[in-house]
Subunit: 335 residues, 2 copies
């Protein structure tokens, strides 16, 4: 990653101060994560017999760059201006424009443009990095295909998530799990383990097993994140336990609650931007009383159990334990 950004910033310097600042902001956006995806990829590569540290590092860098790209475009799509407690690319470039005297709407639009372009650059950088990993031609082609398919699945999950957020109807539980599998599990869990295994010489059967493992683990992770988003300790998660409710996020908790008689008394609060702490406490109580919390906790546990069982068969149980510990100590928000 450091090498990638060093090269990119050297290329950017002669192309204007704004563009150079964009790369600086991108590097800032990629810093501070837990490097969950590189760690999973490196462990899978090693477990499958891979020994080339350079290959492992380059794969990890490409995966982290892909994550950065998705985060940046996700922020633009959600109109978020902050991430991990500081301005994101859009926030930073909006601020730059206001300092130059631009009016707030024009400055905000400039920030959005910067966020879109930064995501584009990270996305293309990730794919080119993947294509540049030293590997036999057939392996390289399979890896590119895997990355391409994963990016498409992620986009499908993101589109479905935004579509659910329109609130025209409450998605069924299956739909929320499908979003979790596509938007989160595919690129954050399946791809790292599959790509690491592929580069170490694993065959299609093993890739299929890792796909299943990644899906189970990723859905468990997302369900844990959904639970923490509503029931979590703000001091621990670093995120307001009101924001998921205020946004009206269509999570598995919400989908389950929608099938119970308590729904009417819960639904009216979801997506209320002025939701108070007292309202939130009421919603939490009702989500517990109607069984949604217990149901989702059980579901997360059963996915995690399945992931652990699969992980043992492929020798990735330690990696899965570390992910589970990470999820418990500090939810997906920090990944």
């Amino acid at each position: 990653m450091d090498q990638f950004f060093a090269r990119a910033r050297a290329h950017a310097a002669p192309l204007g101060a704004e563009y150079a600042a964009l790369w600086a902001a991108m590097q800032g956006a990629s810093a501070g994560g837990r490097r969950l995806r590189p760690a999973l990829a490196a462990e899978s590569y090693r477990v499958h017999g891979g020994r080339d540290e350079d290959v492992s590092a380059r794969l990890g860098g490409a995966l982290e760059l892909l994550h950065t790209a998705f985060v940046m475009h996700d922020d633009v799509i959600d109109h978020d201006l902050r991430r991990r407690g500081r301005p994101n690319v859009a926030g930073e470039f909006g601020r730059r424009a206001r300092q130059e005297g631009a009016r707030p709407p024009a400055a905000a639009a400039y920030g959005q443009a910067a966020g879109i372009l930064a995501g584009d650059l990270a996305l293309v950088g990730a794919v080119v990095e993947v294509a540049s990993i030293p590997a036999a031609p057939a392996t390289r082609d399979r890896l590119l295909d895997l990355v391409h398919t994963t990016i498409r699945v992620t986009a499908a999950g993101e589109l479905a998530d935004v579509h659910h957020g329109l609130g025209s109807r409450t998605p069924a539980l299956e739909e929320t799990l499908s979003v979790a599998a596509r938007k989160t599990a595919a690129y954050s869990f399946c791809l790292p383990m599959q790509a690491g295994a592929l580069l170490a010489g694993a065959g299609e059967d093993r890739l299929a097993a890792l796909d299943e493992l990644g899906m189970r683990l990723g859905v468990a992770f997302q369900l844990g994140d959904d639970l923490l988003g509503v029931f979590g300790d703000e001091a621990q998660t670093g995120k307001s336990a009101l924001s998921d409710l205020r946004e009206g996020k269509r999570t598995a908790l919400v989908a389950y609650a929608a099938t119970t008689p308590a729904w009417g008394s819960i639904e009216k609060h979801l997506g209320d931007p002025l939701l108070t702490s007292a309202d939130a406490a009421t919603v939490r109580m009702r989500l517990e009383a109607c069984g949604a919390r217990a149901f989702v906790e059980d579901l997360a546990q059963s996915h995690l159990d399945a992931a652990r069982s699969l992980a043992r068969t492929v020798g990735l149980d330690q990696a899965v334990d570390r992910v589970a510990a990470l999820a418990a100590s500090d939810p997906g928000r920090a990944a």
Copy 2:
């Protein structure tokens, strides 16, 4: 392109109705262009001795997909909802959401999300298509590097263009020419000719000559587009001759005018969303009287002359003539 979209839509079908509709909209967005970039690439490939029709077609498809990606993100950045007389991806998906009962702001945000994701998919598709063109490893690596560098230069040009549009200050003529070179010439003119030549076996000297040719041709093309955007015949260009003035586009015409005593009487109309036809006629008259029109016409001609001269040395004079004819008959808007 047809094959690419056929494969992509087969993959999309099981991933949800919205996502399948996104691919349909993307295919619609890529249709109807003049295929300027594939034509330039095919001609350059042929002139440099390339004989593999499949290679030429795949390169052309990748370039057109890249163009589609840039157009889609450009539209999101500019908040445009129409392109070539019909709704673009954002326009189409905003309409879908409204039909489902979403409120206008939420529907518009959904449209923007769809436009961002569609551009991402086209961008990644283009890079993966480039990486999949059959070529010797060294050629393939050089091609990927060329495409990557070009995408970065295009993003730098786009960012600078949006930054100039903030109107904090009027960019100097050199800056508007640099935007034209980076945002338009690099991917639309330099890259197609360079990529075609590279795949046919041309060396670095020839790539450098084609870079210069593409820059000259692309800047001439953009200056012609700027002139038509203000002085063009609406019936012929298919675009209101008011919109560039209403948007306050920072073109070479504007940059030149800013150096003349007429500037005060021109500037006040630029970016006025309520500009009337009578105001526009006044601005046109002043842009002529201050010498801006003649200056930009001469500048465009000198770039075109330089391009023609360079084209003769590399055997691409017919291709350049066709581009020049296209620009004269139907400006960049149709490319």
